[in-house]
Amino acid sequence: MRSIFLTQWRLLITVLAVVLLTVGALTAWLWPRSPWTPEEVTTLRGLALASLPPLAPDPSNRYGDDPRAAALGARLFFDTRLSVDGTVACATCHVPTRQFQDDLPLGQGVGTTDRRTMPLAGAAYSPWLFWDGRKDSLWAQALGPLESPVEHGGTRTQYARVLWEHYRTEYEALFGPLPDLADTTRFPPAAGPVADPAARAAWEAMTPDDREAVNLAFANLGKAIAAFERQLLPSPSRFDSYVEALLLNDVAAMQAALSPDEVAGLRIFIGRGQCITCHNGPLLTNNDFHNTGVPAVPGLPEDLGRATGLPLAQADAFNCLSRYSDAQPADCAELRFAKADPHVQTRQFKPPSLRGVAERPPYMHAGQFATLRDVLEHYNQAPAAPAGDSELRPLELSERELAQLEAFLHSLSGLGQAPAACLGCHPEPDAPAAAAPERSIP
């Protein structure tokens, strides 16, 4: 009797244990099939490139979507004549084959900048430009480096003359007549409101009407370059293939797109790592401003980030509310409702898009970190900010989890196929320089 009772018990418990074990194993095995809750699927869909809406028109630039302006802008972007000594173009720092950045901690023009060159894919979606958002449109942004003494180093009168001498037909067809820039008494070779005292004095000596004519040409130069930059979009990554497969419930394609470690890293990215509080949306940036306690670089001037960037944007002669803007005041909501809070905004910087991030070290606004691993160690420790308050909290991720997060960041790299927008102008944009001749431009 006793032994039968015991046997039954043992049997029952064995069966129970086996069932539980099997359920556990099955769950683990089935996990890749439905690894995400419906809420997480929504989040992931929101991060995929397929969720990027078509680029809305920029009301402040009525030429923004004119293909003639884009073609002119593309040539201007590569033109070194737009610099004080004929050596620097936008493309000097924003190298097309390097995600339109330069792989350096600080940009190298006619001098050295105080911040790192930013990649440009998707920049057109950002309401604020630069690490500190001191410009509120792509066209107004383009005017900054041209007159910066360490970037292009020239003046707006010089640039208006380049338009007159080399692009007059294309320019005038779009924007209307240029003034008679051959007249060097009215338009001195180097004149503009820049740091150089001689150029500044020459600018002050011009008539208000002539200054206005140059300002207009200068603004239009920016608008043409912006029309070109509006075409620069990121290309799809393995992460995007994963989300596409997830939405189709295609397990094989999901597994082909991301390894288990990358999926684990993705889970940390949207979960415990809290990365999506700032790196959200299909560009993996909210294009807002955050203090993440990134260390200051010894030897560089103090950098207060957004705290100084917003007042500059509000005072900018080429902002959305300026007379060079094509927008109605109602279209300038970002500028009108911007919140100035110098304490909170101290050392806030714009999170870069994380698309292609693994391919372009170094990282942060002055290239503070050499590797992605350094970046992730920083997030894990969340040190105090050199000024202002860091919004980060220590993550307490293990070595293995950091490695998984890093693996996931690698899955955001473009798959190499050129974005359709590049192909509109030249068939092989990744080919050597010689393969991208001017004649391919309509």
Binding site: S3, L6, W9, R10, I13, T14, L16, A17, L20, L21, V23, G24, T37, E39, T42, T43, G46, P127, G271, R272, I276, T277, C278, N280, G281, N286, N287, D288, F289, A333, E334, R336, F337, A338, K339, V344, E391
Partner: protein
């Protein structure tokens, strides 16, 4: 317990006695606990907002003076995009409140930060309706938006909760 387990295993004996039974029970229980803990942890990760959050788009103000309803310009409140809302204000007995002075504020209770912009009520549209411009939410998650409404010498605040994906 642990001792008995070790002993049983070390001896490699068949478990035909009480200790053996205990061992299986412990094993079974441990499994149940493990699985439960696993699911529990998953749930914990998800539930980082109050479970009973009132997401209604019509709410009464804190002291019950006003009934306030909001409608964002698009069907879904966007993340990272500056946009407008229309709010409708009525007294508790259903009379539209016109000519009110209204201020807007908001924050993310879990993140201890405010709105990235300074939204404002820019137009009294009449009939108790007002246009709110400059709202922007730059993160997914739980947001609150507070309207402080002053009309006819009385001030009250209404709070809306948003849960953005």
């Amino acid at each position: 317990m642990i001792g008995s387990l070790d002993e049983g295993q070390a001896a490699g004996r068949p478990t035909g006695n009480g200790r053996g039974r205990q061992r299986w029970i412990v094993l079974g229980l441990a499994l149940v606990v493990l699985l439960a803990a696993g699911f529990g942890m998953m749930r914990m990760r998800m539930s980082y907002v109050p479970a009973d959050l009132d997401l209604a788009t019509t709410r009464s103000s804190n002291s019950g003076l006003y009934q306030v309803r909001y409608a964002p310009e698009a069907a879904v409140i966007p993340v990272n995009q500056i946009h407008t809302w229309t709010i409708h204000i009525e007294t508790a007995d259903g009379r539209p409140v016109e000519g009110a002075a209204i201020t807007v504020d908001g924050d993310m209770p879990q993140h201890l930060h405010g709105l990235p912009t300074a939204p404002q009520v820019t137009q009294d549209l009449g009939g108790g309706a007002y246009l709110v411009e400059g709202l922007k939410f730059h993160m997914p998650g739980w947001w609150v938006v507070d309207y402080t409404i002053s009309a006819e010498g009385q001030t009250d605040t209404v709070r809306f909760n948003l849960q953005l994906p």
